[in-house]
Amino acid sequence: MMNTAPLYPEPGNGRATNSLDGEPLESTSLQRNESSQSDNERLGFISNFSHELRNPLSSIVGTLDYLLTHRAHEVSSVRDLLERMDRSARHVLEVLNTLVDYSRLEAGKLALRREWTDLNVVIRSARDIAIGYVEKLGKHALTIDTGALYDLPPIHADETKIRQVLINILHNAVKFTEEGTIHLITWIENDHVHIAVKDNGIGIRTRDRDKIFKAYEQVNPSDHPYGAGLGLYISKSIVEMHGGRIWFESEYGQGTTFYVALPIHTSPPS
């Protein structure tokens, strides 16, 4: 049954206003209990994306408003303010790219653009982005250690997508670890490049293990969704499309290690 609710339901508790135009919102009569499970899932999915976009958008809009209320000579750090908006705009783009990847994946149209890829470079750039994320979250007591990096041979892979997988795993480690060290380790075993990301964060409960690689599913210590719930689902698909494997080991309260194994000897498809 189709849910006739609007795609973007608006808040209607009488106090909230749509803050972009300041107009009070009309009440919407959403009949949630009549929706099927998949409609609810879809609604939750759209809400999650809306949430993911509203955060960076609020940095952009807030910074713009700040600039608009000041005369040019009153603002001493225009460059900083522009860089804030730039970072936020990139974040919006990342969220949108995830959505596009997801819809392509669902349609069976996610294609790899394989080329000879220097994994060492990919790993370093993913690490740098993750370090930026640590700073963004203000986790001053958390570090990312890449001390034990093996010199990896080139593999035939989609560089952008493999980087995306690594960033995703690293970001999860950062999100769910308050302090300590996240270790990024690489090695070669059975003709596969292995990459491990080991954290000492909150870990994953046994009952949540089956949810980790599923779309929409979120495993979260606090009672609210966090992220769109698609990162690891997309990551798993990408790794498997490369003929590789992704898995994890975790002990609740102790930490989690994610592993990615990618075959070294993949020849370009003829």
Binding site: E10, G22, R54, S59, G62, F176, N220
Partner: protein, 153 residues
């Protein structure tokens, strides 16, 4: 719980020529996205409020022991300690200090937040992205805008 009308609230925006107002107006901002928190701080600075930005509920509780705040603005969706948990803790420690929720989660407003917000005596719920005039408009009903003296020539 008083629900001030945003439209009727005095406008908090200040222009450079305005005189300095009374001191006070220290606001604690809690958002796990540091960029969002510091942007809210920038916006509040426009009306002369002073701010402290923290990225977790745990850090917020730590600062609440060290400093006195006139109002708290918190996100809901944060890892480890959610905004709801933080507000419950604030209510038990500090009683009736004004608390604003600033959330990106539309669903919160739709389905569950009203009852929960009422139970926790949340004063205002604002949806991200919030515009400067809305934010300052709502705030002005609780704290008079603090216009800072003009710095420099």
């Amino acid at each position: 719980m008083p629900i001030p009308a945003a439209q009727a609230a005095p406008h908090g925006q200040t222009s450079p020529g305005q005189p300095a107002a009374i001191s006070g107006g220290h606001i604690l901002i809690v958002d796990d996205d540091e960029l969002v928190g510091s942007t809210v701080a920038l916006m509040l600075e426009t009306a002369g409020y002073s701010t402290r930005v923290v990225v977790s509920g745990v850090e917020a509780l730590r600062w609440l022991e060290l400093e006195r705040y006139d109002l708290i603005v918190t996100d809901l969706c944060m890892p480890v300690m959610s905004g709801w948990e933080l507000i419950a803790e604030i209510r038990s420690r500090l009683g009736s200090i004004p608390v604003f929720i600033l959330t990106a989660f539309v669903d919160e407003l739709l389905y569950e937040s009203k009852g929960r917000a009422d139970d926790l005596q949340v004063d205002e719920i604002l949806l991200k992205p919030v515009r400067l005039k809305d934010l300052l408009g709502r705030l002005a009903a609780y704290l008079p805008p603090q216009v800072r003296p003009r710095a420099g020539p």
